[in-house]
Symmetry: C2
Subunit: 348 residues, 2 copies
């Protein structure tokens, strides 16, 4: 396939300009004119992208970020980039060969083929008896986020009361299932009846509620946690966080994974109930999965058997074709996706 | 002294009613009519109060608190209570005898004499070659707060950049000195030139600023911490916390000890920069000294030599006479005190 410099057309999802407010499909365009040589130079690989991951953190990269930040801004006029599953089509890097499947840890382009000049960031996929797309979700960054956030940051004890927001999302659905495997009581919130149904009937949450139908979040939490919350896995921020702070138990823990409700606001909402963390000795901790990559092999060994034995299930929302990328990404911020949002660029 | 039921007059500082907004001296009154028998019943002691501690957390007890809370409301019509140094004048409790000096851990009354019915909460003072009043400060709850908050919660490393707000107060002045003893760079904020001078010239802070003279707290912090803050010892909350959140370094820690700027507001100010704790993986932790009481003997053994060798200094603001109690307590919230505010009820 990779002749000495065969050049092919390479469709890309390009950011047109920095975005303010809610991102729209029209903030991106499909560039059909770009071309790429399918021959990798030394110490680089060329990959064919199969599955691209739509992740909320990508919103921050659509604005001009002050440096230093933990991520870079996307470059207007260039394709987006992120996590994805890809196949090596040409390798100038000794540790990878043509045909290898890889998980790009935040480093592949939103395009059909990518030249990866830092191939040491690619993780070679060893286990292919599960859906390949899972490496953008349960077997990738979101999975590690749920695992490290729940076990390492929240340090759960049997019987503790766990609350997860955005609970049917890529990360939340796993946190809830980990919590049940740890004999915790777990309640999730989500934004539609369909998602609430998934939480209760597919992921095994003890209870769930649709936050859009709750005029008083504090009352909703008090109904589900009359004795308070030990662990909050924070995905949304804003009013939900404020309501949770008013309902934490002594020595509670809050793993701050994301605050998706705030990403499109010019000025984030104010949080008013922080003072309560003193008397209740609450620990609130921001974290990124990338700090726990040393646990990834252990995580895979733990979660692969659970998947095969159906002890953990994973719901994905797969959009077909790279042209669907802008809509799929934008949909994260209106909650259009049900489960982990993936873009399938090619099946193999 | 303690005849079989000798009854003496017992002046008290009484809370008149629950307080909203900024507390005023007139929210309290001096009751000169109360009497007390100086003979302790079985399993109780009667103490003569020598030094009473004025602590910001007492503000919360002046309002009607929802239960459960980590403290109870004061009872309108009854004396305040809190931390203090006292002398046993009559004992029905085998572990204490007449003449013993004790540190009451939150449990003595704002009055000349108190009947203590839970004498097991009293810590017998063993070291009397330091000012007795220190047991309300550096050798008491504020000292343990600084010690546990800095060493246990903030886990400082040599060379780290530490910021302390309310830095000349009972706790802050110690945090700054502990930070210097740990080879950290430490900057403090306070509310007057006199206090800033103390920070720099008496407590050995590397730098200090008067927050009231800084129109832009973010700019003030950037001036003192061009590379950001590793450790923030939080005593004030509100706008200062928001400015600090914007200036934390990756893997920074915030020990949340108090938020004195918020205690008299009907609705706490909103905190807008919490989202930054995700990308920077900041840990924010509320704590109370009471959770670290097991470390108190170790702390005393550490700090007593430092005091005697003048390696740590401690500034107190001592109001004379129980009648000065209301003004002393209220003064905490306007920053009138310079150093640890104590009320001296009697010298012995």
């Amino acid at each position: 396939m990779a002749g000495d410099g065969e050049e092919v057309r390479n469709k890309q999802v390009v950011l047109k300009d920095y975005v303010s407010g809610m991102p729209k499909e029209s903030d991106m365009c499909i560039n059909t004119e770009s071309k790429i040589k399918l021959k990798a130079p030394d110490n680089a690989v060329v990959v064919k992208n199969l599955y691209l991951s739509c992740d909320p953190y990508m919103r921050s990269r659509m604005r001009k970020l002050d440096s230093p930040s933990f991520v870079d801004s996307f470059k207007p006029g260039s394709p987006l980039s992120g996590y994805g599953v890809a196949k090596v089509v040409s390798s100038g890097y000794p540790n990878l060969k043509e045909g290898d499947l890889v998980l790009a840890w935040g480093t592949t382009g939103w395009e059909q083929y990518s030249l990866i000049t830092a191939p040491e960031t690619l993780l070679k996929i060893q286990h292919t008896d599960v859906p390949l797309s899972y490496y953008t979700g349960i077997l990738g960054m979101p999975g590690m986020t749920a695992y490290a956030g729940f076990y390492e940051v929240c340090t759960p004890q049997k019987g503790e009361r766990v609350f997860v927001s955005a609970a049917s999302g890529a990360v939340g659905q796993l946190v809830g299932q980990f919590a049940k495997l740890s004999d915790c009581y777990v309640v999730g919130s989500a934004g539609s009846e369909q998602k609430v149904d998934l939480l209760k009937n597919k992921f095994g949450f003890d209870a769930a509620f649709n936050y859009k139908e709750e005029p008083d979040l504090d009352a909703a939490l008090k109904r589900h946690f009359p004795e308070g919350i030990d662990i909050y896995f924070e995905n949304v921020g804003g009013k939900m966080l404020d309501a949770v702070l008013a309902n934490m138990r002594v020595h509670g823990r809050i793993a701050v994974c994301g605050m998706i409700s705030q990403y499109n606001l010019e000025q984030p909402e104010g949080i008013h109930n922080l003072m309560s963390i003193i008397g209740k000795r609450v620990r609130m901790q921001g974290f990124l999965a990338g700090d726990f990559l040393h646990l990834y092999p252990k995580y895979l060994m733990t979660v692969l058997p659970y998947i095969k034995e159906n002890k953990i299930v994973y719901v994905e929302d797969i959009a077909e074709g790279i042209e669907s990328g802008p809509a799929a990404l934008v949909g994260l911020f209106t909650g259009r996706n049900v489960g982990k949002q993936v873009v399938c660029v090619a099946k193999e």
